[in-house]
């Protein structure tokens, strides 16, 4: 290769590698802040501050959703298999909200076991399939029917998979 081009190539590569490493380190250092939400495990470990505005995310624990028939108040347990706490919310929940569903809530942690939400967002996972396939999986008593993979194969329950 022509020496001038070779030098240019080396300079460009050095700039790219340097910037790449800098971005990588920055991303790594800021990872905690880039995370959109705290997980129940982090809250159980005391990593989240009390009485500060923040987001939490996890799975709605099946059988814990309690709605007040008079008002829009609702409480439910949020879990990731490694920690759990109760979320209280007053308002209209998104359509995708259901037991076992991943959600993200915005609000304040009033104690290590109770979160006051001002906004509840539903997460959905990367699985897409027709309702008939889902019905067939449920009828077959598939253990992972609610979070099954579309081919009907086994899929582990992954607490981090919300």
């Amino acid at each position: 290769m022509n020496p001038v081009r070779k030098q240019r190539l080396l300079v460009v590569l050095a700039v790219l590698i340097g910037l790449g490493i800098a971005c990588g380190l920055m991303f790594y250092a800021l990872r905690q802040n880039i995370n959109l939400f705290y997980t129940p495990q982090q809250i159980a470990a005391g990593e989240a501050p009390l009485d500060a505005q923040m987001r939490v995310g996890g799975l709605v624990e099946p059988g814990t959703v309690i709605r007040n028939p008079e008002t829009l108040d609702v409480t439910f347990g949020l879990t990731d298999g490694k920690g759990r706490f109760t979320v209280h919310y007053q308002g209209i929940l998104p359509d995708l909200f259901r037991e076992g569903q991943g959600i993200v809530a915005n609000g304040t942690l009033v104690s290590r076991t109770r979160f006051e939400a001002e906004e509840v967002l539903a997460k959905h996972d990367e699985t897409y399939m027709p309702p008939e396939v889902q019905d067939a999986l449920e009828k077959a008593g598939h253990p992972g029917a609610s979070k099954a993979d579309p081919k009907g194969g086994e899929k582990e329950y992954t607490p981090s998979g919300y």
Binding site: L19, P94, L96, E126
Partner: protein, 252 residues
Amino acid sequence: MVWQTIKRWYHMLGSPRYFYTFSSALLPWLTPIALLVFTVGIVWGLAFAPSDYQQGNSYRIIFIHVPASSGALMGYVAMGVAGLVAVVWRMKMAEVMMKAIAPFGAALAAISLATGALWGKPTWGTYWQWDARMTSMLILLFMYVGVIALQNVIRDPRQAARAAGLLAMVGVINVIIVKYSVEWVQTLHQGSTLKLVGESTINPAMKYPLLISMLGTWLLYAVNVLVRARTEVVWRERRSKWVRKLVKGGGQ
């Protein structure tokens, strides 16, 4: 042997005149194929694919959102490679390509953000959250706009290409962040459905129309790049003999 062929192609397509002839022969074929593939994918996805067990019909926006996003990401990588060739080898065709790739990519990034917001409202309950995937995708749009702006703000096209080329290359780092943001940090955005390695978590009845609309979008992108590059080549070579002859001959 393979290397020799690549090298020969590189030099042939590096010639503006050869590129013009080559693309003249390619476009009459590529354009209808691209339109056909795109139409088949979109119509199949929007009208005939089954609805989703959780999201019902609102998931169908995936057939626009994912092709647009993938096109914007791939286009940026291609622009970065063209930028590298333009900066290091000072190849004119690479400068032309870089300029041709940017506008469609920027449009796709904007479509990806807009359809993502429209999809987010009924499923998540919000148009926008500053999560890592959405923020890095917004930065990708800004990078595209930055490259376009740099190309236009410097009067000398060769100098403009060097400045824009550097920005295009550096921006490829952001493409990596967009791609892996959903794996590295917690986001509201879902993880990848289509996986390069391992099985995709989408039913085949939805996967095939999605793959076809992606291919159609990429082909349309390629058509757009070729057309833009041809215009740019003719403009840049306007003083050369072959372009004068071409213009006098009515484009034949």
